[in-house]
Symmetry: C2
Subunit: 106 residues, 2 copies
DNA sequence: TGATAACCGGTAACTATGTGCCTATTAGAT
DNA sequence: ATCTAATAGGCACATAGTTACCGGTTATCA
């Protein structure tokens, strides 16, 4: 591990790119085929793999092309609500709730 | 589940956005604080959460702000090489390998 | 070792996203 | 029911990513 400790935005993009590339290689797909399957240009794929900047759409298309959409599940889990909450709340919160005011300290 | 079955690029972006929003709410963070912490504008965060298009950089910054970088680990695992391969290959493949030619069918 | 496909990176034109600002809606607390 | 902060989205301009094309490098096969 250790890699995630850096966590500067650019480093993270490069890290993600490297991993996607390894994922692609493990699928034995070349850039041309992958880009084609994803419906993007080879250059966009290269930029993604090099951590040189991409869009979320490009990322998702590539994940799909690599048949790794399960990664999305893990990126942000479907429901991360506390089971306890479910018992009390009929519907999930739409906003963050903050106490309205401090006690006016009388 | 089921959600991932649709897998049209736009649907996926919206799905990802919804999940990120739920993640943020589960952290009890509002958009302003989150955007600030991530170093992006509130509008960019709104676009991300609404699945209206974002950059990978924005996504990663938000994940970091939500302290959910572990999601990246799972998105694309650090090393997805088959243990068996490790025994034979001194270094991981840099390119996809394809057989050069068919047998000229003599 | 030689051949060649896979990979890499630059540019220019186009398109999409980010930012800042502004107004409207509304969930949730009182 | 009322109040208000959180959320939502439009617009104009700045910035960043995508595409298509190019020539150069190099891993890997033969």
């Amino acid at each position: 591990m250790a890699t995630l400790a850096f966590s500067a935005p650019n480093e993270l993009q490069e890290l993600l790119g490297e991993r996607l590339k390894r994922l692609r290689l493990s699928r034995n797909l070349d850039q041309r085929t992958t880009a084609e399957k994803a419906g993007i240009s080879e250059k966009a794929l290269r930029n993604l793999e090099a951590g040189r900047g991409s869009t979320v759409e490009t990322l998702l298309r590539v994940l799909k092309a690599l048949e790794h959409l399960r990664g999305l599940d893990m990126l942000a889990p479907e429901a991360s609500v506390n089971p306890l909450e479910l018992l009390r709340q009929p519907k999930p919160p739409q906003r963050v709730r903050r106490p309205r005011k401090q006690n006016p300290a009388g």
